[in-house]
Amino acid sequence: MAREIHGMVEKRGAGLWLTHVFMILGVLVIFFPIWLAFVASTVTQADIIRPPMPVWPGDQFWTNYKNALFSGVNVPVGTMLMNSLIMAIGIAFGKIVISLLSAFAIVYFKFPGRSVFFWLIFLTLMLPVEVRIVPTFEVVASFGMLNSYSGLIFPLIASATATFLFRQFFLTIPDELAEAARVDGARPMRFFWDIVVPMSRTNIAALFVILFIYGWNQYLWPLLITTDPEMNTIVMGIKQMFPSGDDFAHWPTIMATSILAMIPPVIVVVGMQRLFIRGLVDSEK
């Protein structure tokens, strides 16, 4: 104790030391829920329903994860993981493709109705799916797209953020490049493939990271349109694992599923940290 108080006088060293202490405390507090979920996924149900539960991992890791992945509660978690993966990649890929094309048309062509389309797309920036769920549900149902991947994906790619991002970026591409392409007699689509797309590589990657997480973490929409457990995504499927009555939820399986549900987005965010931060800053500008 005495040493600490003495250290406070020397501003620099003690300040730095304290900063680390606070920082580590902050990280521990923020990590605590994840840690607890991990511990719960490695012990038995009996360990949990007699509180307090242990704070260190048990020896049931393989049993619980195997049970979750291959049996689950309503449907194997492996199936839900696959559904989530298809949905997230479909949303990210779909949004990027349609936005690249429409941004290219808006920036590099002057055609009748261009500004009308521009404003129509702009309007879609404003309305999250949560606000128009009932009528969107009816549209999807009337197309027979309930319990299908296209029903999960299409309504969520109708948004303009990505189009605006690409538009901003295309405007910074030097005019000389388009000029040269035109002089060489290159067709617009050739210019698109050979110049525009390769130049947008980093933006595409950054956007992919953000959109993947957006798609993966969707909850309300899959909850409404996937009534068949085989089509549940993992994020919405966790809630379905809770029993409706007074029974005890099977926490080890539920917590193993929660951990499995966060692994792919965490890998994407942490593994592609620089792209992720860039995408975050870009898409909010």
Binding site: V131, I238, K239
Partner: protein
């Protein structure tokens, strides 16, 4: 801003823009139009016909004490989520900014919760505060505090606020950290030479310089609390107890899908639409300002 050099033709650009326009029309403009249209009608109890009621649904909603309560709940919820996610984030960002080495490691650890879906965050927090098996509720019980968010509205609100703010801390941290790194070191040093202590420097120099970021985050976090926290509320409280955690978006869902009250749900969608529009205007006004800053 316009390009000087453009390509000729009108068919190709129309084809290029078609996918986005068609998808927006089918899954966005049509449903939004439907919401506005349906908000003017009341379906009969058998769902066979619709009766035109003009603005009746809106009048009914605005005089409905449950709906008004939901407005207040949403306001309280968003303010609390915004504060609970921004203040810790700013604190951590200031700490990380003081470090010359190691801030990258902390940053990597701190961005984890951002990747956790709100619904999963809800399950994690529900687990800690579960009335029968929760670790924190058990320790609270040992201390003589009987935690029960299933019956106590205040505790339910506290729990959904914390669970919603948790993942947002990462997001706000990243923006505050980037803004702090951009504060010119010469200004800070000049103040330090003039004898200003850390806290004085922070209040008089750093915080004002952060104001564009702070304002931006205020708007973004409010939008988040309004629209993206459905998963947290649905997993933890399902709007209860006695609708104390029923925010507006949750009410659109519970009235439209659970209660099957289409007219009212559509009218609520339209009101939310207006709210989103206002928030978007505020956001754009601000972005203009930031460019001039």
């Amino acid at each position: 801003m316009e390009k000087r050099v453009t390509f000729r033709g009108w068919l190709l650009p129309l084809l290029l823009i078609a996918p986005q326009v068609i998808i927006s029309a089918v899954f966005f403009f049509y449903p939004a139009g439907q919401a506005i249209w349906q908000s003017l009608f009341i379906p009969d109890p058998f769902g066979l016909s619709m009766q035109y009621v003009g603005l009746g649904n809106f009048e009914f909603l605005l005089s409905d004490p449950f709906y008004r309560a939901s407005f207040v709940t949403t306001a309280i919820f968003s303010i609390l989520v915004t504060l609970c996610s921004m203040i810790p984030a700013l604190f951590l960002a200031v700490l990380a900014d003081r470090l010359i080495k190691g801030s990258g490691v902390y940053r990597t650890l701190l961005i984890w919760p951002y990747a956790v879906a709100p619904a999963v965050a809800g399950v994690l927090w529900l687990f800690m505060f579960n009335t029968r098996v929760g670790v924190i509720s058990w320790y609270l019980g040992q201390l003589g505090y009987d935690w029960n968010h299933v019956l106590n509205g205040g505790e339910a609100m506290g729990l959904v606020v914390v669970a919603s703010a948790w993942g947002r801390i990462s997001y706000n941290f990243l923006f505050f950290f980037a803004a702090l790194q951009a504060v010119p070191k010469s200004v800070i040093e000049a103040a330090a030479i003039d004898g200003a202590r850390f806290w004085r420097r922070f209040w008089t120099i750093v915080l004002p310089l952060l104001s564009p970021t702070t304002f931006f985050l205020l708007v973004v976090n409010i939008v988040y609390a309004f629209f993206e926290t459905f998963g947290v509320i649905h997993t933890i409280t399902a709007g209860g107890p006695q609708q104390t955690t029923t925010i507006l978006v949750y009410k659109v869902f519970s009235d439209g899908f659970v209660g099957q009250d289409l007219g009212s749900s559509s009218a609520q969608s339209v009101i939310l639409l207006i709210v989103v529009g206002l928030l978007t205007v505020v956001q754009f006004k601000f972005i203009e300002k930031r460019v001039h800053y």
